[in-house]
């Protein structure tokens, strides 16, 4: 299976900032865990993929509007809000 992985690339994909110590620790641990996953590579497996359904009674719901929390409840739990809207860092720089 995998010959290895680039911990910096993984951290970037996962939007995590890791210290040098964390990189070393996670690299060693992930290598150990991935070694255990070798059993999957060696196994004789069916072509079918599990779709996670257990009982056929489950069904998609109709695509109709339903009750929502509302702006007041949503902004109350947001880290930062202003005038009933959630504040975020500037996304687009001013043209200069």
């Amino acid at each position: 299976m995998a010959e290895g992985f680039d911990i910096d690339h993984l951290a970037k994909l996962a939007r995590l900032s890791l210290t040098a110590e964390e990189k070393a620790l996670y690299s060693a641990q992930l290598n150990q865990i991935l070694g255990h996953f070798q059993a999957l590579a060696d196994a004789d497996l069916p072509a079918t993929i599990d779709d996670a359904r257990v009982v056929d009674e489950a069904a998609l719901r109709s695509d109709e509007p339903g009750p929502v929390l509302g702006a007041e409840a949503v902004t109350r739990i947001a880290p930062a809000s202003h005038d009933g809207q959630i504040s975020v860092p500037r996304v687009v720089d001013d043209e200069s």
Partner: protein, 485 residues
């Protein structure tokens, strides 16, 4: 009252409440006194609003007095794992990422408990985002096993199990993605049931791995576990996998002495502590003596269950936890910069080590060049495991194994070895991969530490699992057991 209220079952408390010999206020006051006496030792709860509990109790007593009681759970406290939303109560997942959050809405199960008249009684500690088997990954506090305070209670629903074993509450809710209800139930000497995938709505359960997650009941006896299950199962369009109550799952099963019990070949061998094997073998012999047909069954792909689970679960977790970006809710870093820098800093500050480890692992198994080798093969292995379990369950009613290979270990003993901790779940994981119902029932002790056995059934066979558990429990002294604290 001669007997201490904190030792009684929910069913017995319900009978006393119905008979008018007990009020919900008196019950809650007794449990709050118990909380003051032992919660600091055990650390099961992370939050308990005593005034709110008493207000709910008074409202329940008033309903009952007015002839408007809502059923067998009226006035009975149910404590809730801290990843299940209850409006107005903290919803932290025992994580710094969510620690200040108060839920603005009720989960479906909270709605069901309110409709049943239950008291929504405090928040229970857990491994952060339900990732762990020892509750050591909580960012909020440590929880200890009431049977030995130097040991872990199991996890991730460690607070839910420890609260029961410590007599802090008669009923609790847990969630189970790979064994998180059943493994702590086994370690703490209580009963825990993971229902069939889809029987109970997950609306309001913070998502970890959505194709595996289930909410389930925990109690000190099988009867109570069934009572709580009945209250929770209900149709809910807000969880598209939920098909609602099923007569097949909830109607009391026939004579448990007629059950056919399968023992998976080789499961009592490698890695199982001798005292655990002895207790589970004694349970097998009990069922045989009762007239149950006991036979050996083959599950040849069982060894694939742990790697399959940790690929699927971490892949789904890395996706589900992508929502924690510091924007809409949860921790936002004060580090200034671009939105991506803010998100990265927020996630790095908010998540603990195990959550980061699983996000990284899940990101890897889904990444370009590796997804076919890991994620897709895991889905194929999952299909094989499920097919083997369903084939085995076509010939028997239940499969019986230990719940956990070894008794509760010491706090810190496996903290630096995540793979060893993952192997704790070897017997419980297949039920999640196959979506099957499963229960852990106390069956003995290893020294002073509880041991449980594990029953897995076909989809919607909860009633059979409960009947089998009750048959065993009625003949043994393990129900209602509480640790001396």
């Amino acid at each position: 009252m001669a007997d201490a209220l904190h030792t009684l079952s929910a069913a017995e408390l319900g009978r006393r409440l119905a008979a008018g010999t007990l009020t919900s206020r008196a019950l809650c006051e007794a449990l709050l006194a118990r909380y003051q006496a032992v919660n600091d030792k055990v650390g099961a709860f992370t939050h308990l609003d005593q005034a709110d509990v008493l207000a709910q109790a008074d409202a329940s007593d008033a309903r009952r007095k007015a002839g408007q009681g809502r059923g067998p759970l009226e006035g009975i406290p149910v404590a809730i794992k801290d990843n299940i939303a209850v409006k107005g109560q903290p919803l932290t997942c025992s994580s710094k990422m969510l620690a200040p959050l108060v839920s603005p809405y009720d989960s479906h199960v909270a709605e069901r408990l309110r409709a049943a008249g239950a008291i929504l009684y405090g928040r229970l500690n857990m491994d952060e985002f339900a990732m762990g088997s020892s509750t050591e990954n909580s960012a909020l506090r440590k929880t200890f096993n009431p049977w030995d305070l130097a040991r872990i209670p199991g996890g991730s629903s460690g607070g839910s199990a420890a609260a029961l074993a410590a007599g802090l509450v008669p009923l609790s809710l847990g969630s189970d993605t790979g064994g998180s209800i059943r493994q702590p139930a086994s370690h703490c000497g209580v009963v825990g049931l993971k229902p069939t995938y889809g029987l109970i709505s997950r609306f309001g359960l913070v998502a970890f791995a959505s194709s595996l997650d289930q909410i389930g009941p925990m109690a000190r006896c099988v009867e109570d576990c069934g009572l709580l299950l009945n209250a929770l199962a209900s149709a809910d369009a807000r969880d598209m996998t939920c098909f609602g109550p099923s007569d097949r799952a909830l109607t009391p099963a026939g004579d448990a002495k007629q059950l056919r019990i399968g023992i998976p070949k080789g499961f009592l061998g490698k890695g199982v502590a001798p005292e655990v094997a002895a207790a589970v073998n004694a349970a097998v012999e009990f069922y045989r003596a009762q007239g149950c047909a006991v036979s050996e069954v083959e599950l040849p792909s069982a060894d694939l269950a742990v790697p399959t689970y940790y690929v699927v679960a971490t892949a789904e977790a890395s996706s589900n936890l992508g929502r924690y970006d510091g924007v809409r809710y949860g921790h936002r870093s004060v580090v200034a910069g671009t939105p991506v820098e803010m998100m990265t800093a927020s996630r790095s500050e908010g998540f603990g080590p195990e959550v980061k480890r699983r996000i990284l692992l899940g990101t890897f198994v889904l990444s370009a060049g590796y997804a076919d080798a890991y994620y897709v093969r895991a889905l194929r292995a999952r299909a094989k495991i499920r097919a083997e379990y369903l084939a085995a369950l076509a010939g028997v009613d239940v499969l019986l194994t230990p719940t956990v290979p070894t008794p509760a270990f010491k706090v810190g003993e496996k903290a630096s070895d995540p793979l060893q901790l993952y192997l704790e779940d070897i017997f419980t994981i297949p039920a999640n991969l196959a979506g099957l119902p499963a229960i852990s029932v106390p069956c003995g002790k290893s020294g002073h530490l509880p041991v449980g056995f594990h029953l897995v059934g076909a989809p919607l066979s909860e009633a059979k699992l409960l009947a089998a558990g009750r048959l065993f429990e009625a003949a043994h002294g393990f129900a209602h057991q509480q640790a001396a604290l």
